[in-house]
Symmetry: C2
Subunit: 418 residues, 2 copies
C-alpha cells in the first residue's frame, strides 16, 4: 500500500510557511506500516493541483491532500477533486447546519462564503471528525482513494487518527500492530552507541523481532528508536518492553529518558522524588537553563529560581563571589552561593568561555560545571565544540546531565537543612 | 523561468526531519522573480529519485536537488544525475585534494568513502563554493539545468547565493532587480494594520510601484513586507526607502524594527546608545526574557543580569519584596529591587497569572509590566490570551515592547546614578 501526500498552498511554495503537516503525516504512515515514497507541495492553482493529484494517484494507491478546504476564493481543493472524479458538487445540508451552529455558538457573524465548505463532490463522503468548519473528504476512485483534509494541524491530525489511518490499514489488510519507543541518550556519539549495540543489532537483523534505529537530534541527544510489529497491542508492547531492557543493559546511564521525556523533566522529577529543591546560577548560558526548567510541568514544586550574571562586578555584588576567569573553583563558589541565597537544597552552576569572550588561558568551548548539595560540591570540566550559540546550548544539557548522573549515583539525604 | 525543488532523503518522508530547506529555497526563488510551482520530497531510492527528477525537468526549466551528496551508501544523488545525463562519473582530482586537506586541517582521519564526494558526472561542473566536503554540481541538459546541493543548510545556502540564483537570473534574462524589506510591528492586529494602510494599498494597486504584504508571525509580531522591482539596485532601494517612509508615517510606533532586527536587539541597542545598563526580574516568564536578551550580539555591554523567582518565599528572601499576588505594585517593587540589587540603570519586571496557577481574583492571562528608572517607575496591566506557554511568550515580547516604547517616549537622563 503506497500513499502519497500532496500539500496545497502557494504560501508553502513561497516559504512563508514551512510544511510540517507532511512530516507528521509521513511519520504516522510509517508507524502504520504504509509506504510513502513521494510528498509534493503545489500552489493554489487549479490546473497544477489537478495535474499533481492525478500524477500522485497514478503511482500510488492512496493520496492525502492537505489544505485548500477553507471558505476563501483561494480554497479550490474541492473543485479540483470534483474535476478529478468527473462529478459536480452538492451542498450537504447537515454540514451547512453544523457550520452555521459553529458560528452561532462562538457568537460570530457568518458570511455566506463559509457555506462553500459544505459543498461535497458527488460520491465523496465527509469525515465524521469535524473540529473546525471545513469537513474532511473521502473520495473513492475505482480501487484507489483520495483523502482531503484541512491544513490546520489540529484538524488534520484528528481526521488522520479518526478516519484516514484506520481506513488505510483496512484497505492494506494490515492486521498487525506496529509500535515504537524512543530511548533518549546523552553523552556518547552515534557511532559509539552503534558499536556498543553492534551484537544486538546483528541479532535483531537475524531474528527480525524488532528494529533499532538511531537519530542524532543535536542538543536533544541521540534517540534510539525501537520498532516492533505483532498481531496485537499486548504482543507488540511485550516485545518493545523486552527490547528496551536489553538496550538499557547495554547503554545503561547514557539513557536519560523515553519518548516525550526531556532531560529537564527527568531531572525535576528525580529532585521531586527525593524531596530536594534547586536553584541555578547561570553565566554563559544566559537564562537557557532556567527557561528549560520553567517550561516543564510542575517545575515550581522544586525549582526555586535562578540568578544570571553577565559580568564579574555584578557577580560579586549579587552573589558575593569574586573572580573573573571561569574555573572549577569559581563555578563551585557560584553553585554554593546560589544554593545559600535561594535557600535551596541543591545549587548548580556553569561558567565558560565562548568565542564571543576570548580568554588568554582558556580555549573557547571550555565549560565548568558544579553541583552543591549539603557539604558536598562536585565539579567537572568539559570541552564543547562550535559557535557561542552551540556552546550555550550544549552547556545547558551538559549541566543538567551532570546533575542527573550525580542524583542517580549518590545516596542523597532526604532533605538537607536549608 | 520555472524552477522545481526536489528534496532528497528517506528521513524527510518519515518525518524524522522537517524539510525547511525547500521553504528557504522557495522564498529565495520568489525574491529573485523565478516561479516555483512544485516542490517534491523523495527518498534515497535510485529509481524513484530518477523518476522524480525527470518528471520535474519535463515540466520546469530548472531543477534544484537538495541532499544525497554525502559519502555514505545512502548518498546516491550523484549516481542518479549521471544516469539522467546518460554519462559516467569521473573523480575530480582538485576536489579530492580539497577533501583530503579538509580532514587534515581538522586533524581527523579520512575514510576512503569520503572521496566518493569527488566523483562528478561527466559534463557537470562543481560549484565554486564548497564550505563542506560535498561539492555542489551544475548539470546542464540541453537548454535546461539541474543544480545539486547538499542538504546541510549552511552549505546549501552558500551555493544558492553564490551560484544558483545568479545563474538562474542570467538564464531567465532577469535584468530587473527585486528587493524586499520587512518592517516588523508589534501591538496591532493584521486587519487593524491593513485598515490603517488601506488607502496606501489601493494607491500601490494602481501605481504598481511596490507591493505590501502582511505576515502574522506569532510572538515575532506581524511583518509588513515591502517588495519592489526596478532596473538597478539603486533604483529599487530608492523605491523601498520611499515606501518605508510612507508606511512608517502611518504605522508609527507599531514598527519596532526592520528585516533581521528583533525586539531584543532593538531594545539593547537603544539602551547602549543612551548609556544605560539593565537588570531583569522574572517570575511568570521563567528565564525567557534573559535568554532572548543574552542571545543578542553584544548583550553583555548593557545587560547586567537577572533574577528568576518562582515562589513568594524565594522572592522575599532574594529580592526583599513581599507579596504573593501579582499586581502593579508588586511588579514595580520587583523592578526597583532588581535594579538596586544589580546596580543597573534600568530594572524591568513582569508578574502574572497563567492557567497553571489559578488565582481567586485574577483571570489567567493577566500580566503586569513594570520599568524602574531613576526615581520613576512606570507600570502597565495587560491581558493575554492562551495557554501558559503563550502567556509566557507574549509576556516577554510585551515587556520588551513596553520598555522600547518608554525608552523612545521619554527624554532619559544620560546615566542615572547606580
Amino acid at each position: 500500500m503506497r500513499c502519497e501526500i500532496v500539500a496545497i498552498g502557494t504560501e508553502l511554495l513561497l516559504g512563508q510557511i514551512t510544511d510540517t503537516n507532511s512530516s507528521w503525516i509521513g511519520e504516522q504512515l510509517a508507524l502504520a506500516g504504509i509506504d510513502s515514497y513521494f510528498q509534493v507541495k503545489v500552489g493554489d492553482n487549479l490546473e497544477r493541483m489537478i495535474d499533481c493529484i492525478q500524477h500522485a494517484l497514478a503511482r500510488s494507491d492512496a493520496v492525502i491532500t492537505c489544505g485548500g478546504l477553507g471558505p476563501t476564493q483561494d480554497d479550490i481543493t474541492r473543485e479540483a477533486l470534483a474535476r478529478i472524479m468527473g462529478v459536480g458538487v452538492e451542498r450537504d445540508a447537515a454540514i451547512a447546519t453544523r457550520i452555521r451552529h459553529m458560528f452561532e455558538s462562538r457568537g460570530r457573524e457568518m458570511s455566506a462564503n463559509n457555506l462553500l465548505q459544505a459543498d461535497v463532490p458527488i460520491g465523496a463522503t465527509p469525515m465524521a471528525q469535524m473540529p473546525g468548519t471545513a469537513p474532511g473528504l473521502v473520495c473513492p476512485l475505482g480501487d484507489k482513494v483520495i483523502y482531503a483534509v484541512p491544513g490546520v494541524p489540529s484538524e488534520m491530525r484528528e481526521m488522520m487518527q479518526g478516519t484516514i489511518l484506520p481506513d488505510l490499514k483496512r484497505r492494506a489488510g494490515v492486521n498487525s500492530v506496529i509500535r515504537s519507543r524512543v530511548l533518549r541518550t546523552w553523552g556518547h556519539s552515534e557511532s559509539g552507541l552503534a558499536e556498543i549495540l553492534a551484537e544486538r543489532l546483528r541479532e535483531l537483523d537475524r531474528s527480525k523481532r524488532a528494529t533499532l534505529a538511531f537519530q542524532a537530534s543535536g542538543i536533544e541527544g541521540i534517540k534510539v528508536r525501537i520498532t516492533a510489529k505483532a498481531d496485537s497491542d499486548t504482543a507488540v508492547m511485550l516485545i518493545i518492553d523486552e527490547e528496551e531492557q536489553q538496550v538499557r543493559e547495554l547503554l545503561s546511564t547514557y539513557i536519560f529518558g523515553t519518548d516525550e521525556q526531556t532531560m529537564e523533566s527527568v531531572v525535576l522529577e528525580c529532585l521531586r522524588l527525593k524531596g530536594l529543591s534547586i536553584a541555578v546560577a547561570e553565566t554563559v548560558t544566559g537564562g537557557l537553563i532556567s527557561t528549560r526548567l520553567s517550561a516543564t510541568k510542575n517545575a515550581r514544586e522544586v525549582f526555586r529560581g535562578s540568578v544570571i550574571v553577565n559580568d564579574p562586578e555584578t557577580q560579586e555584588r549579587v552573589l558575593g563571589v569574586a573572580g573573573a576567569i571561569p574555573s572549577l573553583e569559581l563555578t563551585a563558589a557560584l553553585a554554593q552561593a546560589v544554593r545559600r541565597e535561594f535557600g535551596a537544597d541543591v545549587g548548580i552552576a556553569s561558567t565558560g568561555i565562548d568565542t564571543s569572550m576570548p580568554s588568554a588561558d582558556l580555549r573557547p568551548g571550555t565549560v565548568f560545571l558544579a553541583l552543591s548539595l549539603g557539604d558536598e560540591c562536585v565539579t567537572e570540566r568539559i570541552r564543547l565544540p562550535g559557535d557561542p550559540e552551540r556552546v550555550r546550548e550544549y552547556s545547558v544539557i551538559s549541566l543538567l546531565n551532570f546533575l542527573r548522573r550525580r542524583l542517580n549515583l549518590e545516596t542523597l539525604p532526604d532533605r538537607s537543612p536549608s
